[in-house]
Symmetry: D2
Amino acid sequence: MSVTPLFSAARNAMDRAYAPYSRFPVGAALKTETGAIHAGCNIENASFPEGWCAETSALSHLVMAGGGKVKEIAVVAEKMPRIMPCGGCRQRLSEFVADDAVLHLCDLDGVVETVPFSAVFPLGFTFEDGK
Amino acid sequence: MSVTPLFSAARNAMDRAYAPYSRFPVGAALKTETGAIHAGCNIENASFPEGWCAETSALSHLVMAGGGKVKEIAVVAEKMPRIMPCGGCRQRLSEFVADDAVLHLCDLDGVVETVPFSAVFPLGFTFEDGK
Amino acid sequence: MSVTPLFSAARNAMDRAYAPYSRFPVGAALKTETGAIHAGCNIENASFPEGWCAETSALSHLVMAGGGKVKEIAVVAEKMPRIMPCGGCRQRLSEFVADDAVLHLCDLDGVVETVPFSAVFPLGFTFEDGK
Amino acid sequence: MSVTPLFSAARNAMDRAYAPYSRFPVGAALKTETGAIHAGCNIENASFPEGWCAETSALSHLVMAGGGKVKEIAVVAEKMPRIMPCGGCRQRLSEFVADDAVLHLCDLDGVVETVPFSAVFPLGFTFEDGK
């Protein structure tokens, strides 16, 4: 168990969650190659498909701050120890992660386990021709 | 035509857009009841449905900053004068707008026209029972 | 009040809904210029933003059946009389509606009111340059 | 290489794709425990995040046909041999797959490789408490 600045950023972001429909607050934080940390929370909507995840919010902050490759990801949720990013977030994160990015699985007290991001998103979908 | 701080925030956000697939950078900015301004850009994804709009990014900043009712919205795009929020963004914004919120339609030089938000999202969808 | 084949198709589709998270089943049906009817239900996901609306399912059936311009739309929900399509669905429908398309607002017994689609999605967002 | 009925269903669905923005037609087909096959194509939108993937369309057909556990998945794209489902589709499929479901990677001529679905979506996100 370790309480890192990245975990704390995710944990604090969780407290900002707008989750009146699921009552399932989530926080996420991203550390870039330069050491900058960007955090976000989930933001739900009356029309469930129009809401978005904590990782999406965190990426919004990353990009608005000038971008950079993501080296570390931490996600924490109030009701779910070792919460995993959903498949959609794995796809969104994949657009910005460094090859050696790691994902920290957390409970409310800190990091429980760390795995390579590539281990949770093998054979990722990309669309180089579309650029 | 008027160049307001809100327009400038949207215009600057547009320059942060990650839009390698559409090559259609968009910026959005929101002003709350307290006068705070939160901005965002569109962030695309190889899997198009997994990307998100400038208004979503701006709402991510609003909520992470502590929330507040949105009174004014400005959106600007590089290639489209008087760009309108898409229907999905109208839905997302509707969760946070004040009753008398206004939408500023912009070109690259400033605000071109201002309309009530309710005029572009009449008979909005809500889900009070879900809360 | 009127119980049309289009309403019945939406009502029957509602019974197929996969809505274990919101417990809010919705059905939608679309009639094309040729009189063909295509229906769909909402299909939710553990990650709320990755689910989709009844109108999306109905459009999936429309397109797979060969497409065609949508002239009439009916939506019905178990717990919400006169349910409106969410903003995201207005955006998705706008890609396929005829200029004079109408939207039937329903309760569980039939059509309650009919409005022009353009009245609920004024100043729609399009992206002709992207085609 | 093998040309199965499931591949053919995905291949035919691809020809229905509405992909004017990416010009990247995709088809998907699902086989359930009873042997039923349900197919779908990608359906794009002027607002990219509001479009949806071929797998989503196929799941719409599955659920509207009465549901059932998915045992086999095939995906094919015009411009991408061995196309993978995006992360969002992995999330959506995970709600309906059997534990031993397999994913067929295809090119335009048939199935190229078959992998367990669990191999492309390890440590999936679920939300049992939300039901």
